[in-house]
């Protein structure tokens, strides 16, 4: 039973993460609205973060916190580094999204539309 669960998780977590990334990419590449593109980019970030944190998981591991009493009863811990990285990645993702949204506001102000095909003054 547990084995099958892990089997599903084996593929499931990575699969989900990759799927999220792909959905985000699809949104960013196909959707015509700037806002949807920004959302797509955010979704990519989420997928990446999911993937990142999943790398660090160890079966049966606990959170990497030496809470009181832990040292008396040590258990295997999950990898803390990806978690730290994800923390950084999330914040950076936030920063980028904020800038992206600001740009969308600027573009809307300038062009009066959010349709990406109409925002093509710079080309060739």
């Amino acid at each position: 039973m547990e084995d099958t669960l892990f089997k599903i998780l084996d593929y499931g977590v990575y699969g989900t993460a990759v799927l999220v990334i792909l959905i985000g990419l699809y949104g960013a590449l196909v959707k015509r609205s700037l806002l949807k593109i920004v959302i797509g980019l955010s979704i990519i970030d989420s997928g990446i973060n999911l993937l990142l944190v999943a790398i660090g998981y160890l079966k049966g591991g606990t959170a990497p916190i030496f809470s009181p009493g832990y040292l008396d009863n040590p258990k295997i811990m999950v990898d803390p580094i990806p978690q730290a990285l994800v923390l950084t990645a999330i914040v950076i993702g936030f920063g980028v999204t904020a800038v992206a949204l600001a740009l969308v506001i600027r573009l809307y102000r300038h062009h009066g539309t959010l349709h990406i095909d109409e925002i093509r003054n710079l080309k060739w």
Binding site: D10, L19, I65, F66, L87, G95
Partner: protein, 234 residues
């Protein structure tokens, strides 16, 4: 047409990424043989020489504190960039672009909740080295408090300069601590304070100081972001 091409492309890419990660495997050690991972040293050093309970915090603030400094900078830059991008010549401060009337229930509730939220945030970042959470998490919680207030009250204002000063001071603290470490400890962000005992509030040397600074900074910056966007005339 374009959609199908994109889907095809993404499918190919997804396939390759997926099989790579499936091959790497989930939930067990996927390192190549003979490699000693850095995390073992981290876990070891965290509890033995830093006396910090939360390994993630020790990594974020100490081992990889440089990343975090960069990360804080990214946030700071995002706020600066936001101001720069959305700058308009005749900027009417205090005039909100989105006006709505919140109901009495919301306003009263917000007023009640706001101190609690700020308190929770402060708790989270102060105890960042002991329990899950930290400066970022705490800062975000505080910022949600301000978001709540901004949503509830049309005329709720946050001093722009105040935010800026807090932000700067927090940033200076972080960078200053780092340089202090360089001067007294020999390397940037060196933990030059005594580390105390494990699971004490005052333990981990400079880690809590930095995390508190980060907490203030994140709170101020996120509030600043919300505030700036909210005062943007479309």
């Amino acid at each position: 047409m374009k959609k199908f091409v994109v889907i095809l492309l993404l499918a190919v890419m997804g396939y390759y990424i997926s099989i790579t990660f499936f091959d790497i495997g989930f939930g067990d050690s996927h390192l190549v043989e003979g490699v000693v991972p850095v995390k073992d040293a981290y876990l070891n050093e965290t509890v033995n020489s830093l006396n910090v309970a939360n390994t993630v915090t020790s990594i974020v603030v100490n081992f990889r504190g440089f990343d975090t400094l960069g990360e804080v900078t990214v946030l700071f830059l995002a706020v600066t960039a936001l101001g720069g991008i959305l700058y308009k010549k005749r900027h009417q401060a205090g005039e909100r672009s989105v006006l709505f009337s919140a109901s009495k229930v919301v306003t009263s509730g917000s007023k009640l909740l706001f101190p609690a939220i700020v308190l929770l945030g402060a708790y989270v970042f102060i105890h960042g080295h002991l329990s899950p959470g930290g400066g970022f998490q705490g800062g975000v919680i505080i910022a949600t408090g301000f978001l709540l207030m901004l949503l509830a009250y049309e005329n709720f204002t946050v001093g722009h300069n105040t935010l800026s000063v807090i932000e700067s001071l927090a940033g200076i603290t972080f960078a200053g601590v780092g340089i202090w470490g360089l001067i007294y400890g020999g390397s940037f962000l060196e933990n030059f304070l005594p580390v105390g005992t494990l699971n004490d509030l005052f333990s981990g040397g400079v880690i809590p100081i930095i995390y508190i600074a980060v907490g203030f900074k994140v709170a101020a910056e996120l509030t600043g972001v919300i505030y700036t966007v909210l005062h943007e005339k479309g």
